[in-house]
Amino acid sequence: MVFSSILFLFYFLPFVLVLYFLAPKRYRNFILFISSLLFYSWGEPRYIWIMLFSTVLDYTCGRFINYYRKIHRPNKMRFWLNISIFSNLTLLSFFKYSDFIISNINNIWRTNIPLLNIALPIGISFYTFQTMSYTIDVYRGDTKVQNNIISFGTYVTLFPQLIAGPIVRYQTIAEEINSRVESYVLFSEGIKRFIIGLGKKVLLANNIGLLWKNIFHMDVESLPVLTAWVGIFSFGFQIYFDFSGYSDMAIGLGKIFGFNFLENFDYPYMSKSITEFWRRWHISLGTWFKEYVYIPLGGNRNGRYKHLRNILIVWILTGIWHGASWNFVLWGLYFGMILIIEKLFLLKLLQKMPQSIGRIYTIFLILISWTIFAFDNLTDSAKYIKALLRISKDNIYDNRFIYLFYTNGFLLLILILGSTNIPKKFWQSIYSRFKYKENILWAMENIYLIIVFLLSTAYLVDQSYNPFLYFRF
């Protein structure tokens, strides 16, 4: 199930909300657990076993690690930690990377091993990372062990963050799993956050996605330069508003049920360097790799050579985490290289220059990275990059560009503004200036949220609009 659907908004969510808030506190985890399983199994009933297996396994490992800590047997502790990490990585590799590995073997040794054609279980990249964070943290003593399997299951399967993150580390919500306080303040914040996320996804990301799809299908060899640029900007906006919208919805839902997840995005397109970009983009993933890969490898402490090696390892892994295909490896490597160059000297240079230079430099490199991300083979990315740079007098724009530009111009403007913190700052300044009219402002905010909610609903209902035209011309 996805949040941006009629099914979720008007069937699943009201049902769970009513059940959850009518039930006494001690049953609430259980209700969340069961409804999360329902949420997950809706699309893919068979794969629920993998998630349950993962839950039981990591619960067990967590308890063993804790037990052997108490009786001071560090070897056994490490053994159970390794069981957990090994199993999670095996699950993830088997379901996500088998066919990628097989097709590469076939390519290199000219063998003919048949592909397994396994459908990727939804959210497996997210929940395996979450459960690993739990066992590792228990091992390190960074968090307390969870003895109640329902509570642990609630953490693993928690539907707000289950299928597309953010990657919530167990320590972040360890307290709230056991004793959280739902409140009107949190609920109302959650509603706001959820609706803003819904609007980002349904009204903005999906719409600009149509433009990208349109340009994506054009003949890249004859693509006018400006069309190519609008195309890759569209993709950049689509992926940001889609993903950050989803994170907003997750964080909002979390608040409604009394959880405080950490932020996952912080206006990444305002960054003045790639280093900064990755501190603002998909923060939970960056944190995970830093905590559980980069620092354990030694981080920056063992000399320059090892430092650079660690950066490259982390970024190849980050790339391949996004998808089982070479373009994602290259995408990760691309960022790894830029980050190394920035660490070596560029960052210092950029800081001396005007901010606008840094911003343009960053956006340019990000957009180029999206061309690697968007096409699953490198020839197509190369062709697209060529189209971006193919400036000649008669190939700047065409009539189609004018049409696409003016019919999407308003949307693009909203997206540009929406990628910055300008709207937020503006609203905050209004709030502080008209403090004495707080009620009116509050009412305006609610009206805004209602409009976004109703428009999003209209878009979702329209998705099934499917006129049957009874004759083929």
Partner: protein, 373 residues
């Protein structure tokens, strides 16, 4: 306090819509979309496991959403106020014209159609003295190009016609110029992709002129309005339309001609128009009762001339004009006709063959392999 207000406000909003959904009766048919809506799927063990139940339930939830049509209109209103000029299916053109967006030309299909047609034409030519003409109708997006939103991209049908002309060795008449010149008259419906009877009349005039016959003049017809609430296919694709519905006219010749129609070898009727469709969604089927595999029309014009018309739906409002000039008209729609067209033609002593198609349809229609059989 404020927070409590917002919480309650939104809980009420969601519950209102969600309970409203459960309480409103299930609709089976959407006349706006002209399709059956998804009903409540049966709960069965294996359909749940295979995911079919889930999929159907999701469609059910959306199809049966309370006030569905109004939500869909709201979406379109929002799109238009965001300066959008199309919804991926139609352009919202000038003066309330809804204009279908063109699909990309499939070159492979183009080549296939030309090959199949050439096989057929060679066979027909071997029969000797048969006049073969193709009358190609431009799409609304071409003939009414100035009604499109500014710079709206379309397929260049002029180029397409040139390519057809250079690859088929028959008399090809394209109506692009004729109809473009009349583009300020009511020659295409605003809410449907077809031409009006008037548009068909201009095509008829042009065609007879070109084959050396004498067309009737507009004055020779009694022109009467048979419907003023026609909302066509483009309307359905648009889902929001603020203009007036279209009108349907008939052109009945003052000098009455008698005819009888044999449809698919059996049904005998005496009318070129099927009035029952005027009360239905699909009002264009008023002409000839819609698309039929085979229609044979015998008229009281005893001039011994027989014409075979191979056509798409544009011909349906055009053919009534031809009944004033031929003894016998045979109308074949290759999309529905399953027999051997050439064999049929041989048996029938045909003097003329007319292909009447929309330009794009002529090269993209998938049923033309029937010609090479």
């Amino acid at each position: 306090m404020k927070e409590k207000g917002r919480t309650i406000l939104f809980i009420i909003l969601i519950l209102f819509l969600s309970i409203g959904n459960i309480l409103t009766p299930i609709k089976t048919f959407s006349s706006k979309e002209n399709r059956y809506l998804q009903g409540l799927p049966e709960i069965k063990y294996d359909s749940i496991l295979s995911g079919r139940f889930n999929k159907e339930f999701e469609t059910f939830a959306t199809d049966q959403f309370i006030g569905r049509d109004s939500w869909i209109s709201l979406k379109t209103i929002w799109d238009l106020s965001m300066l959008k000029k199309d919804n991926g299916r139609v352009y919202f053109g000038k003066e309330d014209f809804l204009i279908d967006m063109n699909k990309e030309i499939d070159e492979e299909q183009f080549t296939k159609n030309i090959t199949n047609l050439n096989i057929f034409l060679n066979k027909v030519e071997s029969l000797g003295d048969i006049k073969i003409t193709a009358l190609l109708v431009p799409s609304k997006s071409k003939a009414l190009a100035h009604k499109l939103p500014s710079y709206g991209p379309t397929i260049d049908e002029g180029k397409l016609v040139d390519r057809i002309k250079s690859s088929l060795n028959i008399n090809i008449l394209d109506l692009i110029d004729i109809l473009s010149k009349k583009s300020n008259e009511y020659i295409y419906y605003k809410t449907d992709h077809h031409w009006t009877t008037k548009g068909a009349f201009y095509a008829y005039e042009y065609y007879l002129d070109k084959i050396g016959d004498k067309p009737l003049k507009e004055d020779d017809f009694i022109i009467s309005k048979v419907s003023d609430d026609f909302l066509g296919t483009s309307y359905r694709k648009a889902n929001l339309y603020l203009g007036n519905p279209d009108k349907i006219y008939t052109y009945i010749p003052k000098d009455k001609v008698n005819y009888n129609l044999t449809i698919n070898n059996q049904t005998k009727t005496y009318d070129l128009y099927d009035r029952s469709f005027l009360d239905k969604t699909d009002k264009y089927s008023f002409f000839l009762g819609g698309n039929k595999a085979l229609i044979e029309i015998d008229t009281s014009i005893n001039n011994g001339k027989t014409i075979l018309i191979i056509k798409d739906s544009f011909a349906n409002s055009f053919i009534p004009f031809l009944t004033n000039h031929y003894d016998r008209l045979i109308v074949i729609d290759p999309r529905y006709f399953k027999g051997d067209i050439f064999g049929f033609l041989k048996d029938q002593q045909v003097n003329e063959v007319l292909f009447l198609f929309n330009v794009q349809n002529f090269v993209q229609e998938k049923s033309f392999n029937i010609f090479s059989r």
